[in-house]
């Protein structure tokens, strides 16, 4: 069986700040990491591989700039078998729709039985790319996966909702989107890190995918959605602190809740 995990390299958003003058993101010195949900998807794929122990392989696919190969190396060091980096000027500026078109074109070429993605990325938080890849591949999706079991050609998924779980049986080929809770990622081990640097990462640009890709559907110009502007929120004024008797404190809280339409 062939498992493909789609990952994204993201800035550690806790450290991203906006330049108050230019309104641009300050990314200098902000560390890049594998998106949390995606890392849990990698871990889940590796566990399935180890459990089945039948020649099942784990392939990692990442679309991003050349530097994103660091994320792929990390995935290889965790134990993945092979890695693809989709990187081209033509891909830049893609929204979720265009991104899903590029990734699904690559997946059709790579081949797959089971595709795993993270539920959402911490920089964009859209949760759209996974379902949109599934749509382009014409396979069923189960998103918000919290537990996954493979039985032959069938996958049993515990799918989370706000108020319930569905236990869903789905036939491969299919796509699942992983919650961070799905599987606690392992650490890279020393041998794995050395192996990871000996493995090749396949880099595909536009030419490698052009047979299945309409240039009008990708990149900034091919994206249906465009950012009009991005901006920082107004700095909130310094907070107020009260050291008053409890009754009074409670009244202050109630007034504030009312003022902010929280009650």
């Amino acid at each position: 069986m062939k498992i493909v995990v789609c990952i994204k390299q993201v800035p550690d958003t806790n450290e991203v700040k906006l330049d108050p003058v230019t309104n641009r993101l300050i990314r200098d010195g902000v560390p890049s990491i594998i998106n949390h949900d995606d890392k849990s998807a990698i871990e889940q794929a590796l566990r399935i591989k180890e459990e089945l122990n039948d020649g099942t392989t784990v392939t990692i696919v990442c679309m991003g700039p050349p530097q994103a190969d660091v994320a792929l190396r990390e995935a290889l060091a965790m134990g993945a078998d092979e890695a693809y980096l989709l990187s081209a000027r033509e891909f830049g500026g893609s929204d979720t729709c265009a991104t899903a078109i590029i990734i699904s074109t690559a997946l059709k070429r790579i081949g797959f039985d089971l595709v795993l993605t993270g539920r959402q990325a911490i920089d964009g938080d859209t949760a759209q790319v996974g379902p949109q890849i599934a749509e382009n591949l014409g396979v069923p999706q189960v998103s918000y996966a919290e537990e996954v079991t493979v039985n032959g050609k069938e996958v049993l998924v515990k799918r989370q909702y706000e108020d319930r779980y569905h236990m869903i049986k789905v036939q491969m080929p299919c796509l699942l989107t992983a919650l961070q809770e799905l599987a606690e990622p392992r650490y890279m081990h020393a041998g794995g890190i050395i192996d990871a640097y000996n493995k090749d990462i396949t880099v595909w640009g536009f030419d490698d995918l052009k047979d299945g890709l309409n240039p009008d559907d990708i990149g900034l110009m091919g994206s249906p959605t465009r950012v009009v502007t991005s901006f920082g929120k107004m700095q909130k004024g310094a907070g107020v602190k009260y050291d008053v008797p409890a009754e009074e404190a409670v009244q202050i809280i109630i007034d504030k809740l009312e003022e902010r339409h929280l009650i």
Partner: protein, 365 residues
């Protein structure tokens, strides 16, 4: 560019229901759609989808829909991605909407992207603000942001009637406004809890159309083998609008019961610092911070939490922060909008009583 830019009309709200009960976010969307529809000179159409849901049409009209389309099939009782997608794509092809709105729930965020990819249009996730009218959009920017108004006016002009969809990005560090100018419908999922309800108009009339979607058994391509409704709710604290969060200062696991009562009153959830998770007082899924979840609710109430940097990392982007701590030098006060120096064990029960009284006086249940 899609061909239907000129013809596409009206704002469609896809209603969400579970077990026959309409989700609150649907009411919120109808309220917001009403405001947008006036600015556009178009109608609000609610789309109800499910099994035996026709009797929800009246509720849609009363909460602000001008018309209702009921997409009904006996097999649509529980949400399944493919048949819901197929049925709603048929609806879109038949009716040619200008705008389609969904709640940004675990259903909407699964369904809307699949539909958008199938009809090849843009979708903006998790919006917290929507505008049609440029003047209103500028008023909003002026009140909340550092955005460069002139540059936007040069780009769009004052007559622009596309949907301006504003959402947080980069963990809430940045806001972005997004448009889908060249494709229709313009689609967005909207975060629950951010849009205001309009006053319910009891007995309001409007056209109701029943649509039988064309579905085959093959469309039901996954099988739901079991449904477990969680006794307590299953929570994803990152989606909660209000978090009442307890730290070591609450003194015991049992006190989470008191925090829960306050959270229930505010329509929120309880969460925790790591200290209490490590102590086994509460489950790990509710931990906020660097090694827990990053949250940005409308209200984060930190009760007996010192405000260690690893904790702040997970909550400092919350819209409004109230901190209650008996140590007036606790670092949590540096990020709090409202700081209360005092004993949580005294204040929380009194706060619950006061909320109870408030709701009674305002006749809210």
């Amino acid at each position: 560019m899609s061909k239907n830019i000129e013809s596409a009309k009206d704002i469609y709200v896809v209603a969400e229901q579970r077990d026959g009960k309409v989700a609150k976010v649907t009411h919120e969307l109808l309220g917001e759609a009403n405001i947008l529809a006036k600015d556009l000179g178009e109608k609000v159409i609610a789309v109800v989808i499910g099994a035996n849901v026709a009797d929800q049409a009246q509720e849609m009209l009363e909460y602000g829909a001008d018309e209702v389309i009921v997409v009904e099939d006996d097999r649509l009782g529980e949400y399944i991605t493919e048949p819901y997608t197929k049925a709603l794509v048929q609806m879109i092809e038949e009716y040619d909407p200008n705008i389609v709105l969904f709640g940004a729930t675990s259903i909407g965020r699964d369904l809307a992207p699949r539909i958008a990819a199938r009809v090849h249009t843009g979708l903006t996730a998790d919006c917290t603000h929507l505008d049609i009218d440029m003047q209103k959009y500028f008023d909003f920017l002026k009140a909340t942001s550092t955005a460069d108004r002139d540059a936007i006016e040069r780009k769009l002009g004052m007559d622009d009637k596309t949907l301006k969809m504003t959402r947080p990005a980069f963990g809430g560090n940045v806001m972005a406004t997004i448009r889908c100018a060249e494709y229709r419908p313009q689609m967005a999922t909207v975060r629950p809890g951010v849009m205001k309800l309009v006053e319910k108009q009891v007995g309001k009339q409007g056209k109701v159309t029943i649509m039988k979607p064309d579905l085959t058994d093959e469309d039901f391509n996954v099988e739901i083998v079991d449904i477990a409704k969680s006794e307590g709710k299953i929570v994803d604290i990152t989606e909660a609008k209000v978090l009442v969060s307890g730290g070591r200062g609450i003194g015991s696991a049992a006190f989470y019961g008191e925090l829960q009562k306050v959270a229930d009153r505010l329509g929120g959830e309880i969460s925790s610092s790591r200290a209490n998770v490590d102590a086994g007082w509460i489950e790990k899924a509710r931990q906020v911070g660097q090694t827990g979840k990053t949250v940005r609710p409308d209200l984060y109430m930190a009760c007996g939490i010192s405000g260690a940097i690893q904790h702040l990392a997970g909550m400092e982007n919350s819209e409004y922060i109230i901190a209650i701590n008996k140590n007036e030098d606790a670092p949590i006060f540096e990020v709090a909008d409202l700081g209360i120096v005092g004993d949580v064990k005294v204040i929380i029960p009194k706060l619950y009583e006061a909320l109870d009284k408030y709701f009674e006086e305002h006749q809210i249940n």
